[in-house]
């Protein structure tokens, strides 16, 4: 393919082609310079977070910000957060259990993902491979709910959660979102694209039940698609803030996002950036692991969600 592209139209004269090549090469050099500078800028907040967590607070507040801690990196912020080093006159820190909050977030996100992937794949399979009365109408109804703005029923939803006694539990993040319009749509697309009708037909003839077909045939084949949905919802639930900050008010149940936000608010005039950054690093590590392991699937999910949605 590359060879066909690089073939020049015969009508072009040698001289113009040569100058055009130089111009193009110059263009590429400028492009690289620009992209590299921009990359540095894009990466910098991550660097700031990481290096900031390794600097004592006093050094973070020098007149000029430092690229590297002048007194060498220190793990003090982490030791304080993990209560390995006893907190000095910071009462708030004594009741701040970062690992528990990260654990809460992981628990909330993992269970949400398992539930969502199962129910969405189940519905996606039916819409992709089965035919039954009102199928198209029901599918359109699902898609129409995507147009409902989140804000429209947020307040009454919150009141409902209170009435159900779900405050300070993770149920509001597990149950209402168990089957979502986006998830069903995405899973249907994947199943249509990856699973031929014939194998489902032959399994039906062999007497397999729909549930068996779903769990023993469809799900193993389309693990790839399920991973895409799993990662997108994992990132979404792990990073959720609006609802969690309103629902998870109890110190024991709050997620790491809520805990860190409260930590900032507890000392808004002179934030303990060293501790905040250390906490942020610990909160971000699971996501970075997920990102680097599954980056292809994440990108695929984002692209398919946008273009077809």
């Amino acid at each position: 393919m590359a060879t066909t592209i690089s073939v020049q139209p015969k009508t072009k004269q040698l001289v113009t082609r040569k100058s055009w090549n130089i111009r193009r090469r110059l263009g590429y050099i400028l492009l690289y310079i620009f992209l590299i500078l921009l990359s540095v800028g894009f990466f910098f907040p991550f660097y700031q977070m990481a290096i900031g967590s390794l600097m004592p607070k006093e050094e973070l507040f020098k007149l000029y910000p430092q690229l590297w801690p002048p007194g060498g990196p220190t793990l003090r912020a982490y030791l304080l957060l993990l209560h390995i080093e006893p907190p000095t006159n910071m009462a708030y820190l004594a009741n701040f259990h970062i690992l528990r909050y990260v654990g809460n977030s992981l628990l909330m996100a993992t269970v949400a993902v398992l539930i969502q992937v199962f129910f969405n794949t189940m519905a996606g399979y039916v819409f992709a491979k089965r035919s039954f009365p009102f199928k198209n109408q029901l599918f359109s109804m699902i898609l129409v709910t995507l147009l409902l703005p989140t804000a429209i029923n947020f307040v009454p939803f919150f009141i409902l959660i209170g009435r159900l006694g779900w405050m300070n539990t993770y149920l509001p993040f597990w149950i209402p979102g168990a089957a979502t319009a986006f998830g069903i749509f995405l899973m249907r697309q994947f199943i249509v694209a990856t699973i031929p009708d014939e194998i489902i037909d032959s399994a039906t003839i062999d007497g397999a039940s729909q549930f068996q077909i779903l769990t023993r045939l469809v799900m193993p084949i389309m693990t790839g698609g399920m991973v895409v949905l799993a990662i997108l919802s994992f990132v979404g639930v792990y990073n959720e803030f609006v609802m969690s900050s309103l629902i998870l008010t109890n110190p024991d149940t709050r997620t790491v996002q809520v805990a860190l936000a409260n930590f900032l608010k507890s000392n808004i005039r002179a934030p303990n950036y060293d501790l905040l950054f250390a906490g942020s690093v610990m909160a971000t590590i699971p996501l970075l692991v997920v990102f680097f392991v599954f980056q292809r699937q994440i990108m695929e999910g984002v692209m398919s969600g946008a273009i077809k949605g």
């Binding site: 039916v126 409902l148 307040v155 209170g162 900032l264 971000t284 990102f291 984002v302």
Partner: protein, 293 residues
């Protein structure tokens, strides 16, 4: 119907959950928005009073709407335009390291708005932040990023740029790669320059995606919450208050009736803007049937 009971069973979770957690709150919200109510007390029907209060006497609604429009004017050209330009660059035929750059720009996708807010707070600090230090090197005086009305809005949009650019680039790249190469080859043979190719081939082909993203960005900005709470707390002087944040304020001060009404006003605004954008840009939508499905 009975024959298909398993099929209906498999799709029933969505519909049951939607009835309980989508439709019921919606209907309850309608009732609530016409009532005065506090938990433990009787609900009193008060007609349009909540809406009257919100629309006529509550200055926050107007302020939040204005903020959203101003921030939208900042974010659409640079956010979407910038992402498109970057996507075109990354789509350059002989670019080495395409996937490296793509991954790097996309990395902020996994970070949380909460954490990004801390990091930007320190980067944009007037006295100790990197941004002012670097700008000082070229002689620009320190900018009060988070404490002055105009700059606070810019700060929020900067954060949103950083978080969303990678996703936008990715979506544009997907659209660009769907364009038939032959169109460019034909244009090249006709002697079209790179710029002409961009405006006459690339741009028309990605219009539907562009429209989708304009609408998504608009809705996203109205629903913005974490960064405005944590980075600027709606301030200074209410200039970074968003519609969603105002609704939460009403809710947490137990003004449920007004909060529910505010939700419908936001919903109405979103619907209106979506329709206007689709109408206004409808020629875009229909010109190219190719990407439309």
């Amino acid at each position: 119907m009975w024959r298909h009971r398993v099929d209906y069973l498999f799709i029933s979770p969505f519909f049951i959950l939607f009835l309980i957690f989508g439709l019921y709150p919606l209907l309850f919200g309608i009732q609530l928005s016409f009532s005065r109510w506090q938990p433990g007390k009787d609900m009193v029907f008060i007609g349009l009073d909540n809406y009257k209060t919100l629309l006529l006497t509550d200055p926050e609604l107007k302020q939040a709407l204005l903020n959203t429009i101003v921030m939208l004017l900042w974010i659409l050209p640079t956010g979407l335009g910038g992402a498109l330009v970057l996507a075109v660059m990354l789509n350059a035929r002989k670019l080495v390291g395409r996937s490296f750059f793509r991954t790097l720009f996309f990395l902020p996708f996994v970070t949380s708005q909460v954490i990004v807010s801390f990091v930007f707070q320190s980067l944009l600090d007037k006295d100790y932040g990197w941004v002012n230090l670097l700008m000082g090197l070229v002689g620009i005086p320190p900018i009060p990023w988070l404490t002055q009305t105009f700059w606070a809005q810019i700060s929020i949009t900067l954060l949103l740029h950083w978080m969303g650019m990678g996703t936008n680039i990715l979506i544009f790249l997907g659209a660009l790669q769907a364009i038939d190469r032959e169109l460019y080859e034909a244009a090249e043979i006709d002697g079209a320059t790179a710029t002409q190719q961009f405006f006459n081939v690339t741009f028309p082909m990605i219009r539907p995606v562009m429209l989708f993203m304009i609408i998504t960005a608009t809705i996203g900005l109205m629903n913005l919450y974490a960064p405005v709470v944590l980075l600027t707390n709606g301030g200074p002087g209410g200039t970074t208050l968003t519609l969603f944040m105002r609704m939460i304020q009403l809710m947490t001060s137990i003004r449920y009736g007004e909060g529910a009404g505010f939700g419908f006003i936001i919903g109405g605004i979103i619907l209106l803007i979506t329709l206007v954008q689709m109408k206004f840009l409808s020629s875009w939508w229909t010109v190219e049937g190719k990407l439309k499905q």
